[in-house]
Symmetry: C2
Subunit: 196 residues, 2 copies
């Protein structure tokens, strides 16, 4: 019954495609760009993934799955929720690779590109960002109940504030150096978590 085996590794292909979409955006990423990065031919790509849009959604979901898993691991690693939040934001300020400052947040980029132009992709990007807020909310509530939260701000509002900080810092990282970004993060942490 079955035919020829696939020459490409789906996981690697998705990772390479994610890189292209992340840097160039959805529309600006041409099929040629994707083909080159994924090391595939046009026919193979369309046979395996349908079309550019379906590929993007698959790539975006794959990326989001890894992203949220990594974020959860940071929370799991720290006994103190505030320490986890600090690590998450300082990791934006002081990136592993300077290119990450150029790339920004994949979610934010796609939301910016598609809002008002492509309702379906806009909705997908929104959902991913709200997922971050929900994770913040869950962890903040946990810390609140444990009496661990040194903040007078309600968890629901604080979670939104942190997502807003996430959005902001992922734009601002294209303007300032790492030291200045670090100061902005520390300021926000101090303002949120030092008072009572």
């Amino acid at each position: 019954m079955p035919g020829r085996n696939r020459l490409f590794d789906e996981e690697k292909a998705l990772a390479q495609a994610a890189e292209v979409f992340w840097i160039k955006g959805y529309e600006a990423a041409s099929t040629e760009d994707l083909l080159a990065a994924m090391d595939m031919n046009k026919g193979s790509l369309y046979n395996a993934f349908g079309n550019k849009r379906e590929l993007f959604v698959k790539v975006f979901d794959w990326f989001a799955q890894r992203f949220i898993r990594n974020m959860k691991e940071v929370f799991a690693k720290h006994a103190n929720t505030i320490d986890a939040i600090r690590e998450i934001f300082l990791h934006v300020a002081y990136a592993d690779d300077p290119m990450e400052h150029t790339k920004g947040c994949f979610y934010v980029n796609i939301l910016g590109e598609t809002t008002g132009m492509d309702p379906d992709l806009e909705k997908v990007a929104k959902e991913k960002l709200i997922e971050i807020e929900k994770l913040f909310y869950k962890e903040l509530t946990k810390a609140w109940k444990a009496g661990q939260l040194t903040s007078s701000i309600q968890p629901a509002l604080l979670a939104k504030h942190l997502l807003n900080l996430w959005n902001g810092i992922n734009i601002t990282r294209r303007l300032y150096g790492e030291k200045e970004l670090g100061k902005l993060v520390e300021l926000n942490l101090q303002l949120c978590f030092s008072g009572k």
Copy 2:
């Protein structure tokens, strides 16, 4: 010597083009889109503005001139600097037209689109945003010297924080309703200006 008079009004043409670039972005705004919005023919546009890129730069500079002038007027209007800052950010939260939430900040949009892809336009967008920071800094310093600033944060850092808030809220406005955006703004003002 001179020939035919222009049928179009340059100011109006720039305003219409700005609207297209603002909503669609630089690359996604096609010449056909621009032509339709500006109510011109292709030959006229290229004769008057050179090419798409030159048009964009002219549009962007024209927009920035109006933008910074409006912002300065808000500061001039208020005796208290914090009141001016409140008006500026609440005007983002509660927009005159709901479409403004979709459009976001023209500067932020272009910075996001061009970073790492189009160094020249990236630089232009960066400069416009830094101009906002500089205006915040100037006004905060003025308020500081007047003993008017109820904040323990240094003006230089506070100005960066406000630009970061600007960047963030102009993304976040695509996620939340006006009431929630208003709460985020008030929280930030309280955190920045209520303590000592």
